[in-house]
Symmetry: C2
Subunit: 206 residues, 2 copies
């Protein structure tokens, strides 16, 4: 996290507006990740910034708008990364390994955002869920396509149900997110390999 902030500052010393806004959203992500959306308060967010509660409303227009933005960043990681992988990598096995890595990597420096997206997005009002829902549907569609292509390519069995596969894939990855808050990098590598191996090979001895 410190790295990305540092580089942003260094790259554009005058983007002060955007930098502060990012700090505010970071704090909102941390607050919501710790206490949930309804459990977290705007005063809690302000405290994390050494700011006064009322000042926040210069940066976002409502608590809900802040949640929306945190969720959007949280889900944004997934779809774009996966699309790139599907274009670059052609081997089904390697694709899946890369997809697991793509899903788990944000835990390193965007843990709060991802967790808020996973657990708090349901509290977005219908009419504000649009963009977030669109992004997560696209992610699921890309995953489904990956599995179906794997069947076509004869890497996965013809009777594989891609819907179930998507479910198990996302569930397994998210359980890692829920269990390990902000894993150490080596631990994360081991987790990625372990989960990918398990998904690919299954439990039964071959």
């Amino acid at each position: 996290m410190s790295v990305s902030v540092q580089s942003t500052v260094a790259r554009k010393p005058a983007g002060k507006r955007e930098v502060t806004r990012r700090r505010v959203i970071d704090a909102a992500a941390a607050e919501f990740a710790e206490h949930g959306y309804h459990g977290g308060s705007t005063r809690g967010i302000a405290d994390r910034l050494g700011m006064k509660q009322g000042s926040l409303y210069y940066h976002f227009k409502s608590k809900e708008a802040a949640l929306e933005e945190v969720c959007r960043v949280g889900v944004g990681e997934f779809a774009d990364g996966l699309e790139a992988i599907l274009h670059k990598e052609q081997n089904s096995t390697e694709r899946l390994r890369a997809a697991v890595a793509n899903h788990l990597t944000p835990l390193l420096d965007k843990s709060d955002y991802v967790r808020v997206f996973l657990f708090e997005r349901q509290h977005l009002p219908r009419d504000q869920r649009g963009e977030v829902a669109r992004l997560s549907r696209r992610y699921e569609a890309l995953l489904r396509w990956m599995f179906e292509d794997g069947i076509t390519a004869d890497a996965f069995p013809p009777r594989l149900d891609s819907g179930h596969a998507v479910l198990v894939f996302i569930g397994a990855c998210n359980m890692v997110a829920a269990t390990y808050g902000r894993p150490a990098p080596e631990q994360l590598d081991e987790l990625m390999d372990g989960v990918a191996d398990l998904l690919l090979g299954g439990l039964l001895r071959r």
Copy 2:
């Protein structure tokens, strides 16, 4: 749900105290499942019962106590059922199938309880999380034992990491819970088979 209430009433016409208390906790489970713990209100619970908000406190001493009880019921299903399975069934494959069924079946008639346990237990204060945490640790320990015994029995590969297996198992099952609120029985059967097949056989063609 109407069935279980009916039978309870018929079986014990005089257990009025317990029946009402169950109705109250049911309403709390529904409220928390829909809005989350912090998002739900005691007035919301009372409305579901056609009761006045203040009257609830005759049945539980605080909102937190209600959450604790909902979570305890929600997790209670899992461990006991799994222990019975491990005693009865000896074949590792059948054990796993039964374990998946055991995890998913409560979704049919205890959906609210299970979902509250899954998503809201984190909002229990440390000092009240005791019993709930104990039950879920026991469940995880039983699962781990199941996988390790499968390795010993030569059904699962020796290099299988039981910790990862527990993670993937729970994650996959919970994703079903999160995705399908209260599935139709046939749909649930298909989901149980699909998830179990996938966990056992993995993605790769054999």
